[in-house]
């Protein structure tokens, strides 16, 4: 039984508190949370940071947080720009791109 959390539109420092609440609620409610970020149009570092933090949180609570689909273009671009994909760990690669780094 998993929960699906769909994120859309703009995910920036302005909406980060909202995202944090949503993630906390979802992780409280179920042991397996899937994030759908395919429709995110705009994002900044705070989004990546919140998701990283949530992953950490999930591991500590023995829960699973995953992406419903591999990260879309804009997210991948930001991850590249912010240096998340240099020397990427297998773990991160699994999380963001389901194991396959798009070229």
């Amino acid at each position: 039984m998993h929960q699906l959390l769909e994120l859309q539109g703009s995910q920036t420092v302005r909406t980060a508190p909202e995202l944090q609440r949503a993630l906390l609620a979802a992780l409280d409610a179920g042991a397996d949370v899937a994030l759908d970020i395919s429709d995110i149009a705009e994002l900044d570092l705070s989004f990546v940071q919140t998701v990283c933090s949530a992953r950490h949180h999930a591991v500590l609570g023995g829960k699973t947080l995953r992406l419903a689909r591999p990260a879309p273009g804009p997210v991948a671009a930001l991850l590249t720009r912010a240096g998340f994909l240099t020397d990427i760990t297998p773990d991160d690669l699994d999380f963001w791109f389901h194991g396959v780094l798009a070229q």
Partner: protein
Amino acid sequence: MIGQDPIAAFRVEAGELLEQIEQGLLDLGHRLDDRDLVDAVFRGLHTLKGSGAMFGFDALANFTHHCETAFDRVRKGLAPATQELVAVILSAQDHMRALVDGDGKGLEATGDAILARLQAAIDGAAGTPVAAVAEAPAQGWRLFFRLPPEAMANGSNPLMLLDELRELGECKIVARTDAIPPLTDLVPVECHIGWDVELRGDISRDDIDDVFIFVMDDMELKIEALAPEPAVETVSLPVAANDAPPPAEANPASGRPAAKAGESVRVPAERLDELMDRVGELVIVQSRLSQLAHGSAVGSEMALRSISEEIERLASELRDTMMVLRMVPVATLFGRFRRLVHDLARDTGKTIDLVTEGEATEVDKTVMERLADPMVHLIRNSCDHGLETPEERIAAGKPASGQVRLSAHQQGGEVVITIRDDGRGIDRERVRAKAEAQGLIQPGQVLADQELLQMIFHPGFSTAAAVTNLSGRGVGMDVVKRTIESLRGAIDIKSAPGEGSTVTLRIPLTLAIIDGLLVRVGEGRYVIPLAAVEECIELSLEDDLRSRGRSFITLRERLVPFLRLREMFETGTRPDPHQKIVVIATGAERVGLVVDQIIGSHQTVIKSMSALHRDVTTFAGATILGDGGVALILDVVQLVTLGQHQEERLRAAG
């Protein structure tokens, strides 16, 4: 405020930075081992360089860069701060000012000369030629940085910094997420991501610093040079905790208003709020008034009176609030003199302490600007003529270092500024000899001490036996006096032989509004500044007839010349049967003005004369009376001079 020229804004900011640097350097001159001061100066230079480069002042940025590098070595303890270094950077700072004000053309030679001296100072201080170390070209750099948590909320975008780093050269950036707190503890607007960066290429340390210039203060930053250089250089920011706040955010309260150089005043926001409150109240009263005008309510007379009272109160409050807006603390004025005294001490070889008091006293900005020159002159006089050399002082049983004390305080509607030194005092014998030589007084003439001292205000008067570079050219005290009087102020001098001199300046708080005595001459009305009025006496018809042709009255056994304003202004009217004489004075000189009627005291808002009437001398301005009529304001200084001329003419005629 909108469409501000950024260059002009930069010049204002740079001016402030330079002032801070100068103050820091002057303090440093006294306390060479003060780390906080070194840091403050360094950061001032650093910010100046950064914003200079940003606004296209490349010459400034380059030049400042060298000074900053020198100071950086002091900051890191690689070289001690020395008097020589402070002196060089002070002169460098003057050069920077020139670069800020101009485009740097034709100044290269000066700049190079200063840099050469700077290099010498640094080398001398370190004992070994070490200039190369700071700028050692490395193969590249390895750095780790984490921004201050609030950086994102403050609007810096870490991604832009990363992009800038990429522009420097070949760059490998790895994000570090280990410091991100778990979701429950995360403050999502804070940034906890850190970055490891490897930069390869011919990149200087300063290039990297430039990237972080705006976030540098609280960030975590480790930089080390990449192999093969074994040297490891680690700088950890933040710097000392009790450091002065960085200039860029020095005064959030005053709101960093758009300041165009020269013609703008920085106003603390709360004062503007106060003004806004008053304006708000005024709008309310205005709407009450218009309601009253349109309606025909019973008892409207009462309501009208209450509105009138309200407006009267608001007008006076608005006036007070408005006047305060133009006020600036004298600290800014006093601050300028520290450098002056520093330079004077160096040029004269004396040790001079400058002590300031009452810096919080506020003066109208225009007044302040016009006070600067006379004060420079007075301070020069004190330092050059007043204070003795250390040897003379010790011989006289005084401490070796002389003291110049500036103080300011408010007294009624005036600000009193005193310049006091503990030097040798004014040499009365020399003043007397000089005055006799110039024919100002008769040999052997008996003079009150105060009158004798007043002699130094005569044009061309100097008691200095030798004309020095600094003062003693005989231009000065008369100009000082004239400037102070043009501010409607007064200058007073006291001096005790062997103990020093005190010059006291009394300046009205504002130039915009004065208390005046409203008088009538013929059919016109005129205002005489109340501060200049000594007394009013009646000129009886007999006295008037008797003194015709000889315009003198005897006032407490002294002859006072008087001017018949009716004749001067050619009113063509018959004199009033009960004419009055208003006696006005500046300094020790008095003159009477014959008027037809004294109407009373009048708060006068001064309107300056139009360009067409600029060369009219008898009047200082005009004002609008309660009934809408115009009254001219008499220029007291001019009239007194005129009266004195008349006296001399008559004396000459016998």
